[in-house]
C-alpha cells in the first residue's frame, strides 16, 4: 500500500487510514537531535517543511482510528512547535475536543469554545471551518449552511468551502443552489474534471426531480448534464465516473427526447444554457460510446492490466452492475 505521508489523497480508505496511523510510533520516536542541549539541537535538528505536514496527517489518521494516545502526543508536539495561538493548531485542538465529546452537551461546549474564539478573532478561518464541520456532524444542517454562506461572503474564492456548501445543499435536495455552488468552484478551478462530473450529476438529479412538474426544463437540464459529462471526459480520458454518468443520462434522454414537449426547445427563459437540444442520433452515439468505454475499463481493470488498476473498487463494481443490467435487458 502506498500512502503518501505528506499529502495523502483526500478520501482515504479505512485500510489506508489504519496504515497511516500505524506509522505514528515510528514518527514519534525522539530523534537524537532533540536530546542535545540548545545550540546543538538547533544545528543538528532535521526539521524540514514536510515534517509538520506528516505530523498533521498522521494526527488525523490517529483520530480516525481511535489511537488517542498517539494522537495526543502528536498534538502536543504541534502545540509545542507552533504555540497555542496558531490558527491551525487551534483547529487541531478543537478536533481533539470534538473526538472526546460523547454527548450532545459536550459538542455544544466545543461549539461555544469555537464561538468565543471567533468573536475574539473573526479571521480565524481554520476554526471557522471546524465549527461548520461540527455543526454538520451534529446534524444541524441549516445552521451549518447559514454559517457557510456567511463564511463565503467574506472569502468567496475558497473552493473547499463552496464544495462543502454544494454537498450540504444536495443533502437538502436544494439542487439549484448546489448547482450554483459547483459552478463557483468551476470558476476557481476550470479544469477540475471531478467537479465537472459532480456538477453534471447534480444537474441530472435536478432534471429528474422537476420532470413531473416541468418536463421541458427537465429535458434541458439533462442535455446540460450530458454536455457536462462530455466535458469531464474531455478533460480526463477514461474517467469512469464521467462515462458512467454519461451512459445513465443518455439512456434517460433517449427515453424522453423523442416525446419532448415544445417548451424544451424554448431557450429564452431556461435556467440552462441557450444551446439547442442535442439530436437523437448524437445522444445514441454517445450512449454507445460510453457503454463501449465503460466495458473496456471494467474488463481491463478486472484483468489488472498495467495502468488500469487505479480505479475505486466500488465504482468499478457499480459500472459492472450497470452493464450487466443492460445486457439482461437486451436478452429479454
Amino acid at each position: 500500500m502506498s500512502v503518501d505521508l505528506i499529502s495523502p489523497p483526500p478520501n482515504l480508505t479505512k485500510e489506508e487510514t489504519l496504515y497511516l496511523s500505524q506509522q505514528a510510533p515510528h514518527i514519534l520516536q525522539p530523534s537524537i537531535a532533540a536530546t542535545l542541549p540548545w545550540p546543538l539541537s538547533v544545528l543538528f535538528g532535521n526539521e524540514t517543511q514536510d515534517t509538520w505536514g506528516t505530523y498533521e496527517n498522521v494526527y488525523l489518521a490517529c483520530l480516525r482510528t481511535g489511537d488517542d494516545k498517539s494522537a495526543r502526543l502528536l498534538l502536543d508536539r504541534l502545540v509545542a512547535r507552533f504555540g497555542e495561538s496558531n490558527e491551525r493548531v487551534m483547529a487541531f485542538k478543537g478536533m481533539w475536543a470534538e473526538s472526546k465529546a460523547e454527548t450532545e452537551q459536550d459538542c455544544i461546549k466545543v461549539l461555544d469554545e469555537y464561538k468565543a474564539e471567533l468573536e475574539k478573532e473573526p479571521t480565524n478561518f481554520p476554526v471557522q471551518k471546524r465549527r461548520i464541520a461540527l455543526l454538520k456532524s451534529m446534524g444541524r444542517i441549516p445552521e451549518a449552511i447559514t454559517q457557510l454562506v456567511e463564511f463565503l461572503n467574506s472569502s468567496p474564492t475558497d473552493g473547499e468551502a463552496w464544495s462543502e456548501l454544494a454537498e450540504l445543499y444536495v443533502s437538502q435536495s436544494d439542487f439549484e443552489r448546489a448547482i450554483f455552488c459547483l459552478e463557483e468552484i468551476i470558476l476557481i478551478l476550470p479544469h477540475a474534471w471531478n467537479v465537472h462530473a459532480r456538477l453534471a450529476e447534480v444537474t441530472f438529479l435536478y432534471g429528474q426531480s422537476i420532470f413531473s412538474s416541468n418536463p421541458g426544463e427537465a429535458i434541458r437540464a439533462m442535455a446540460e448534464s450530458m454536455r457536462r459529462y462530455c466535458r469531464s471526459i474531455e478533460l480526463c480520458d477514461n474517467y469512469l465516473r464521467g462515462y458512467y454518468g454519461l451512459k445513465l443520462v443518455t439512456k434517460r434522454l433517449l427515453e424522453v427526447l423523442p416525446s419532448a414537449p415544445k417548451s424544451a426547445s424554448n431557450t429564452t427563459d431556461s435556467a440552462f444554457s441557450d444551446l439547442p437540444l442535442p439530436s437523437v442520433q448524437i445522444v445514441e452515439r454517445l450512449n454507445e460510446k460510453s457503454t463501449e468505454r465503460l466495458a473496456n475499463i471494467v474488463r481491463r481493470n478486472a484483468a489488472a492490466e498495467r495502468g488500469w488498476d487505479g480505479y475505486d473498487r466500488a465504482e468499478v463494481i457499480a459500472a459492472r452492475e450497470l452493464l450487466n443490467r443492460e445486457e439482461k435487458h437486451v436478452e429479454r
Binding site: 467574506s154 459552478e183 468551476i186 470558476l187 450530458m226 442535442p278 448524437i282 468505454r293
Partner: protein
Amino acid sequence: MAQPLVQTIHRDPALFYWILLPITVVMILTGVLRHYATVLLQSTPKKQPLPKIRENRSLMQGVNLRTNANHISSTSFQARKSYLVSGFKSGAFLADPEARGKPPANPMSDPAMMEGMMSMMKGNVAMMVPQTLIMGWINAFFSGYVIMKLPFPLTPQFKAMLQSGVGTRDLDVRWVSSLSWYFLTLFGLQPVYNLILGNDNSANQVAAQMAQMNPGAAMGPNNDPDKLFLSEAENLEVIEHDYILNGIEERLLASLG
C-alpha cells in the same frame, strides 16, 4: 624576436594565507550571518482584518469570473456578472466604503504602513552595517597589497576593476589587489550562498538593493481598491461569452473515434 615581457612579482606565500583566504572566508561568513539576521529581524506579516480579506477575495472572484467565464453557461454568467458589476460599482465589497473617492492616505500616518517601513529599515541596516565594517577593515589592514594573479590575460579596461587601491600605472592587468578581491567576492558569491543556504536566501546584498530600487512596485496594488474594482467591472462588462460546452458532443465523439 623578443618575448613580450612577463611581469613577475615575487609574492610572499603568506599573502595567500593571511589575506586572500581570510577575505574570502569572512565574506562567505558575513553572507551567512546576514541571511540569518534578516530571517530573525523579519516580523511576522500582520493579519489583515476581515473586511480587507473580503475586499481582496471579492476582487479575485471578479478576476476568476473574467478568466474562466467560458466554463459556465451564459445564463449563469450573466447573473454573476450583473451581481458583481453592480457590487463593484456601488462599492459594496470595499473594506472601507467611507474612504471612497478620497485620495489615498499619507503612508506615514497609517500604522500598518509604518510597520512595513520599519521592516524595510531593519533589512537596510542588516545590509549596510556589515558592508561598511568589512570595507573599513580591508581598507585599514590590507590596502595596497597585490594578492593574486589571474591565469588569463585581460584588456586594460579591467585595470580599474581589478586594481583599486593600487595606484601603479604599469602593473599588468592580471594582478588583483585585495580591495578588488573584496568587490569580486561581494558580487560573485551568490552561487556559493545558493549552495549553502538554499535558493531563497537573503545573503546577497546586491540582490536586496536591486529589490529596493522600485518599492513602488510592491506598494502599487493596494493603491486604491475602488479604482481596481471599477476597472474590473469594466473588464467584466466588455467580455464576450463563448460557452465551452458548445459542440462538446461532436468534439468528444471525434476524439473517441
